[in-house]
Symmetry: C2
Subunit: 421 residues, 2 copies
């Protein structure tokens, strides 16, 4: 382990150098061996369920003493079921297709040189996260499967849990012959270590923050390393005049109410003035105890609708609250989304294919949907197997980011003695 008397910068520099070395070693390790390492790590997690649960109990005790909220305590809590689910998740990553080595472009130049672009690992990835200790295993598994070394920095409240999970992970990894330094856990919960990690340009190739808005905002503000991050999910569902009311009813209810706390939840409902059954949409939400905050037109539909303030159109509630507005057709819906959206996930419900294509083309969001619930915005639902996060940025990877987003490419040029004239 590292010497805790050193400065955070020295600590991160040492860990970064070790990670870089491990990343170079990983390049020489077969995909089968990497997958095997994850299977052994999953087994180690299962074998050490008692130790992990005991470590978590210590964290829970401290957290309760420190007055953490019930929601935070729930995120922190690990029981046998959650530990088993974490192990299953690591094993599932072992079963995904190898993201490395695939040829993403090929051409032969007139002078005979053969060019290929081939997927390779990104290098060293830093993960900064909060109270969920399962991220220690999930994120490490994804990074490793894509051939990367990872430096994990979890929340101080999950310190003991993270250590126990990390110990199990590296036991499995080392047993498979992989370098243990491929998965390192920052051994201090000193917040200055986060700052050092965020500034470790040249040591860390990508930072992925996993947590609430204040964490993500801090990371984006301080980082001198590229960041793959998810900010707001102010998602819209637009019910067009040509929507099938039964479908619209089902989708809107699901998009808002299935789980209100996920980033893919719909936060604003836009209803075309030509839609025949707007009151039923609103009534169903109110009937399920969803607070509806509407403009004048929506308030006229139901006496229980509260007035929406200007702020409401720019708010990600993440609870059973929705803002709602009547618009004049798809163009006004597009304009509203352009003005108030967060470029995460937006949907249209309509039977008119031309209107749908106009919406799909004009809405500039990571995910644009036609006749489906925004709650599908998820790497697993998209068939990616697992996700490291959903990116609301525009570079490198957009929307759900899984193994492919943890890779880059290099150009291979095979010649026969070509020189440039």
């Amino acid at each position: 382990m590292n010497d805790l008397t050193q400065t955070p910068e020295m600590l991160i520099a040492t860990m970064g150098a070790r990670a870089r070395k491990a990343s170079a070693l990983l390049a020489g390790i077969s995909d089968a061996d990497k997958a095997n390492a994850l299977r052994l790590a999953a087994q180690a997690l299962r074998d050490q369920t008692a130790q992990i649960a005991a470590a978590n109990a210590r964290d829970m005790e401290n957290a309760a003493a420190n007055g953490l909220s019930p929601a935070m305590l729930d995120r922190l809590r690990l029981d046998a079921g959650r530990i088993a689910a974490t192990a299953d998740g690591v094993e599932a990553v072992a079963g995904l297709d190898n993201p490395l080595g695939s040829v993403i472009g090929e051409s032969v130049r007139p002078n005979g040189m053969v060019l290929q672009r081939v997927r390779v690992p990104l290098g060293v990835i830093g993960i900064i996260y909060e109270s969920r200790p399962n991220v220690t295993a999930d994120a490490a598994a994804l990074c490793l499967r894509a051939g990367n070394a990872v430096i994990l920095r979890g929340g101080s409240e999950a310190r003991e849990s993270n250590r126990a999970i990390h110990a199990a992970m590296i036991e499995g990894i080392a047993a498979a012959g992989l370098p243990a330094d491929a998965v390192q856990l920052v051994p201090t919960t000193d917040r200055a270590a986060v700052g050092a990690l965020l500034k470790a340009a040249g040591l860390v190739d990508l930072i992925v923050p996993r947590g609430g808005k204040s964490l993500v905002a801090r990371v984006q503000e301080e980082a001198r390393v590229p960041v793959l991050a998810h900010l707001d999910g102010i998602n819209h569902s637009y019910v067009d005049g040509a929507a099938d009311p039964k479908m619209a009813q089902a989708i809107i209810f699901n998009a808002k109410m299935r789980r209100t706390g996920v980033c893919g939840a719909t936060e604003t409902l836009l209803i075309d003035r030509a839609y025949p059954e707007p009151a039923a949409l609103i009534g169903a939400l109110i009937g399920a105890k969803c607070e509806v905050r509407g403009d004048e037109d929506v308030r006229a539909l139901d006496a229980q609708v509260k007035p929406a303030s200007d702020e409401d159109w720019d708010t990600e509630y993440l609870e059973a609250v929705i803002s709602a507005r009547i618009v004049d057709g798809v163009e006004e819906a597009i304009a509203h989304i352009a003005a108030h959206g967060s470029h995460h996930t937006d949907a249209i419900i309509t039977e008119d294919g031309a209107v749908a294509e106009r919406f799909l083309n004009a809405v500039d969001s990571a995910i644009v949907m036609w006749n489906a619930s925004t709650q599908f915005a998820d790497g697993g639902e998209f068939g990616l197997g697992a996700e490291i996060g959903i990116s609301t940025g525009r570079l490198h990877a957009r929307g759900p980011v899984a193994l492919e987003g943890l890779t880059t490419y290099k150009w291979l040029v095979r010649g026969t003695g070509q020189i440039r004239p």
Copy 2:
């Protein structure tokens, strides 16, 4: 034009808002119209050759009075031939394949939802450059062809030239019915405007610096917006024991001496101890007045070899100087490159396919070549048509970056009423 009495932050905020609006308008403009706009812009550049040359003459006069170096004066200079070449370059970009709308991935989920990833514009791109006024046209053409709005900030020494070129560009663009705000030139040469542009997160999606190392370093240090940049090109050519001496001789001479000032030039020569004719490689370089700085073994080959210092292995000369070292086989070459390279372009010369593949796999650079000159590291030579630059970063785009690197993608989901269970 903008009011020059406002602060740089206000100026950039205004320009950014206009660019965002133009970028949204561009989404509704056909590819044919964008290509036509570039052809009209090229014609306007040709028609206004006299005005552009006159503006350039004023810049040259000021620059000479300010004591600019002959190299900088040459970069600044525009004559009829260079203006025609610039117009040809803009026209060539009009002839490239449309980078937008292509489907880069498609799948059908078990519930019937159809997913596509489709290429879309990045949004608003900032270009910060130095004395070459042709960048005003080149960079604008590439950004616009990929559907982006662009904010250009050229060097103060090229102020008049840039204005004249920009005026011609927007004349052509507007004549084709495109929004003139799609191509904006920062109207002040106040350096604070660069700082404001680098911090315009949310207004600008990507910054591309085009210039010397000090500019790129400043941009990388100050930017709060993603940067696509090119740092050093400390490129290696490794001559393996199994190289064909005639081929090795030709490639090494070309890789170093064809043009010594380009970023793809070889800066370090690594020679396998088993290679039969090392003295001829060194002798040919020295015969062409290339200074060779070698280790003890290389110095033993030729009395004119100067001793290499530790710094030499980490130096990008960009002139007729090369460092040279004898290594024990491909593994030592790979280790040297890992320790001293800049992840730009590295090459192996060998007839042994297995050794070549080992090198191609193990060297972690944007471009890795077998039996070809590193001077081919160029978007045009790679068949990309034109390049905005060569990226030594690992995210988003690596190596030569052309139209595709100026795009992102969005996920389109087409359903038939799916809700998430």
